[in-house]
């Protein structure tokens, strides 16, 4: 039988990247929210992501369900290992989702609670996602395909650092998104944040890049023994970061966001190539984690039909809500 596992690697890999990029910028807007200059600016900030944020989160649910179907081992090791973290992420996402809806329906003077929920929810959810990445790098204590580690193994200095790095990274995605979607002083404010966050992100990039090979033998071997072309990735990262900085200097509007997406894609590739073929490091590869071929095929048929539809709808939504968000339009 044809091996569908590779197709599924691509589908899940694509879904995760889509999630990180799209929900990344709207979580980032939530992280920048309390630093906005005025309540009026907060309306603008929220309106830049309001039409698209829930569509962005569908990638998360699709990813969760897809993992159980295609790579059940990933689902049944990651979730128990990150038990507390997953709860924090879900609670955060729920609070900010509700804040989105009810902030606009609340009277003007009573929005403080919803503002706090929007910021807090975004911050906690982002931190948890960063910790997931850190935990993935760190690896899982497993025995006979089961997670056997402790409740807080996922919370180490290293994962706290990746969690904070994720906050900075999503913040940058949010700031450059806002440069694209706003104008005037709001845009200048976003640009100021983009500078700071880019600088901070590069610091985290250097720390993670040094810390990982120092503590992880497999990654060290990957980078220093075989596969020397991998060094193109950090080289490209530095290059893209420099271009991003320059585009900020020149007050470009769309390019900073595109370069930030490029940065994230490079981080993502670097992460995957460091660990490949392990998806539940250090013990299990994507082949170990895969479900039965007939199960992979059964769902694939449905997905091939639906995913193009979801993509078209997503593209259409972004098209409809293109252009700048202004203070006068939007909420009522």
């Amino acid at each position: 039988m044809f091996d569908f596992t590779y197709i599924w690697v691509m589908i899940i890999g694509f879904g995760v990247l889509m999630y990180v990029l799209t929900d990344g910028f709207d979580l980032g807007v939530g992280i920048l929210f309390p630093f906005a200059r005025s309540e009026e600016d907060r309306d603008i900030l929220m309106n830049t992501v309001a039409p698209v944020w829930d569509g962005n989160e569908t990638w998360l649910v699709l990813g969760g369900a897809g993992l159980l179907a295609a790579f059940p081992l990933v689902y049944t090791v990651f979730l128990p290992a990150l038990y507390i973290g997953v709860f924090l992420m879900l609670a955060g996402l729920i609070f900010r989702g509700v804040a989105f809806e009810f902030r606009f329906k609340a009277a003007k003077g009573r929005r403080g609670l919803w503002n706090a929920a929007f910021f807090g929810g975004s911050l906690v959810a982002t931190f948890a996602q960063g910790a997931v990445v850190g935990t993935f790098i760190q690896g899982f204590e497993t025995e006979n395909f089961r997670y056997v580690g402790g409740a807080l193994d996922w919370l180490t200095p290293f994962t706290v650092m990746t969690g904070l790095g994720m906050i900075v990274g999503y913040g940058l995605l949010g700031a450059t998104w806002l440069m694209l979607k706003t104008e005037g002083e709001t845009q200048q404010w976003a640009r100021g944040w983009a500078y700071r966050l880019l600088a901070a992100l590069m610091v985290f990039f250097v720390i993670v890049s040094l810390w990982t090979p120092l503590t992880d033998e497999y990654v060290r071997g990957r980078w220093f023994d075989n596969l020397t072309w991998l060094w193109l990735l950090p080289l490209a990262t530095v290059l893209v970061a420099a271009r991003l900085w320059r585009s900020l200097n020149r007050s470009y509007e769309a390019t900073p966001f595109l370069y930030t997406i490029g940065l994230f894609a490079l981080f993502y590739a670097g992460l995957l190539f460091s660990k490949w073929p392990y998806v539940v490091p250090p013990n299990y590869t994507f082949q170990d984690a895969a479900s039965a071929p007939e199960s992979q095929l059964f769902l694939l048929i449905g997905l091939l039909f639906v995913v193009p539809f979801v993509l078209m709808y997503t593209a259409w939504t972004y098209y409809v809500f293109r252009g700048k968000v202004r203070a006068d339009a939007g909420y009522h």
């Binding site: 369900a65 059940p72 689902y75 990651f78 329906k105 609340a106």
Partner: protein, 465 residues
């Protein structure tokens, strides 16, 4: 006291899934009703129908949104608390649950936006089509969920290799023995839930003299549906029970509170089951009736709980009383529905204020009945998570400790308390604001999301008019 991760996980799952279930069970019925209203509005061109539909679409949007939020949590519960069960059964449950998600998104992506925001933007026929597709979509979604659940109750179409489920026949696994009955029972339960909520709120409007023409029409059509669906549910439930007797006799024994295997089993109206001493206290029953219902013979033999080792018996008290709660509410619903049909026939519906008041009091009952029914079937399959194959003890996440489970249980209680208080409060505001006098011009949601909750534009905390 030692914290038991198994017990805490079961409580957490029961809490989260119960909270989730009340939203879809309502939206499935309501979506059907909205499609019907849109159909009549399309045929008659009478604006009263469109106004009614517009109002109920707002309610639908909020309830649907809450269903999505609570469903998000469900998607992760299987892995966090029941990873062993998920891992061993992923080859079937994975694709089936993923199909549910995919169906829901497909529905949302393609048709929900049109239904919620498209009334003035697309031709009426397209709007009607979207309404029908949303209703169909909710049924397809529940199809997959109930297939997964039924498979856990009456597993079929698979074999175990090294303890892992491998599907041998998708058709047999999806359409497993209890699925058709459970699906029918649940579908009609959704219609009854949606119907009694619509009837109750319409009656409340009539009592207050609000939107009288529209409310009267809504009430009449709903009562006709209820007068058919409520008795039908009794028959479907009976078949479902017979199916359970065939495949899960221990569950039926618990429902009947039957400890001894006997011919001419009485139907117990009241009893306090005593699990430890294997008996009931204070029994009041009707002789031989349970045998008649279950075997269709006065002296038919029904297996008692003592036929199973104590460790394989479900907790009898919960199953026994949940079952009675569900059936009692079902009987009340049949009575009220027939009363309404009779008043309708005598053309005395609108002046009978007692009846209208009773209808408003009926609003919470179908939700209680649905949850009680789920308690019967879920508690009744204990100690198994995959019936006869994997126990809940085996299915639990091996690394889970009592402390972790307690932390998230309290966490979910708090999150749900905040979120659903806000949601429920907002729903009551929409209902209080009432049915619009005229078809509202929809504001173009420019810069605002085309998604469920945004379809409702009632203010959250400004005084209502």
């Amino acid at each position: 006291m030692e914290l038991d991760p198994l017990l805490l996980s079961r409580i957490q799952f029961a809490f989260v899934v119960s909270f989730h279930a009340i939203f879809p069970v309502f939206t499935i019925g309501l979506a059907t009703y909205i499609a019907l209203l849109e159909g009549i509005a399309y045929r008659t061109q009478d604006p009263h129908w469109a106004r009614l539909s517009q109002f109920w679409i707002k309610v639908f949007a909020v309830v649907f949104g809450m269903g999505v939020v609570s469903g998000l949590v469900m998607a992760f519960q299987f892995g966090t608390n029941w990873s062993e069960f998920s891992y061993r059964s992923a080859n079937f449950l994975g694709p089936v649950l993923a199909y549910e998600v995919v169906t829901a998104f497909f529905l949302e992506a393609a048709f929900l936006g049109v239904l919620l925001f498209g009334r003035n933007k697309v031709p009426p026929g397209v709007h009607l089509f979207a309404a029908i597709m949303v209703a169909v979509g909710t049924f397809i979604s529940s199809f997959w969920i109930l297939s997964a659940n039924s498979w856990m109750q009456t597993p079929a179409g698979f074999e175990l290799r090294d303890g892992m489920v491998h599907v041998t026949s998708w058709l047999e696994a999806i359409f497993n023995p209890s699925f058709p009955y459970r699906f029918a029972h649940m579908a009609v339960a959704s219609l009854l839930t949606g119907g009694f909520v619509v009837a109750g709120i319409s009656a409340w409007y009539l009592l207050r003299g609000h939107a009288v023409t529209a409310s009267r029409r809504a009430l009449k059509m709903t009562l006709i549906m209820l007068a058919i669906a409520a008795p039908a549910q009794l028959i479907i439930g009976d078949y479902h029970g017979l199916n359970t007797l065939e495949h899960q006799p221990a569950k039926v024994a618990a429902m009947e509170g039957a400890w001894e295997t006997q011919e001419g089993l009485p139907l117990l109206l009241f009893a306090i089951p005593d699990q430890a001493n294997e008996t009931n206290h204070f029994e009041i029953g009707i002789p031989k009736l349970a045998s008649l219902i279950l075997t269709h013979e006065w002296d038919g033999e029904v297996q008692g709980l003592k036929d199973w080792p104590a460790a394989e018996r479900p907790p009898v008290g919960i199953v026994f009383w949940s079952f009675r709660t569900m059936v009692a509410i079902g009987m009340v619903m049949i009575g009220v529905a027939l009363w309404g049909a009779w008043l309708l026939y005598r053309r005395r519906l609108v002046d009978n204020r007692v009846f209208l008041r009773v209808l408003t009091l009926m609003i919470p009952l179908p939700f209680v009945a649905v949850l009680a029914g789920w308690f019967v079937t879920e508690v009744g399959r204990q100690p198994y998570v995959l019936y006869g194959v994997i126990t809940v003890q085996e299915g639990l996440t091996p690394s889970l400790t009592g402390g972790m489970a307690l932390f998230t249980l309290i966490g979910y209680l708090l999150v749900y308390a905040v979120v659903f208080t806000a949601g429920l409060y907002y729903l009551t505001r929409i209902v209080r604001k009432g049915i619009p006098e005229e078809l509202e011009e929809q504001q173009d949601p420019q810069g605002r999301p085309k998604r469920p909750l945004s379809a409702a534009d009632t203010a959250l905390d400004e005084p209502s008019t």
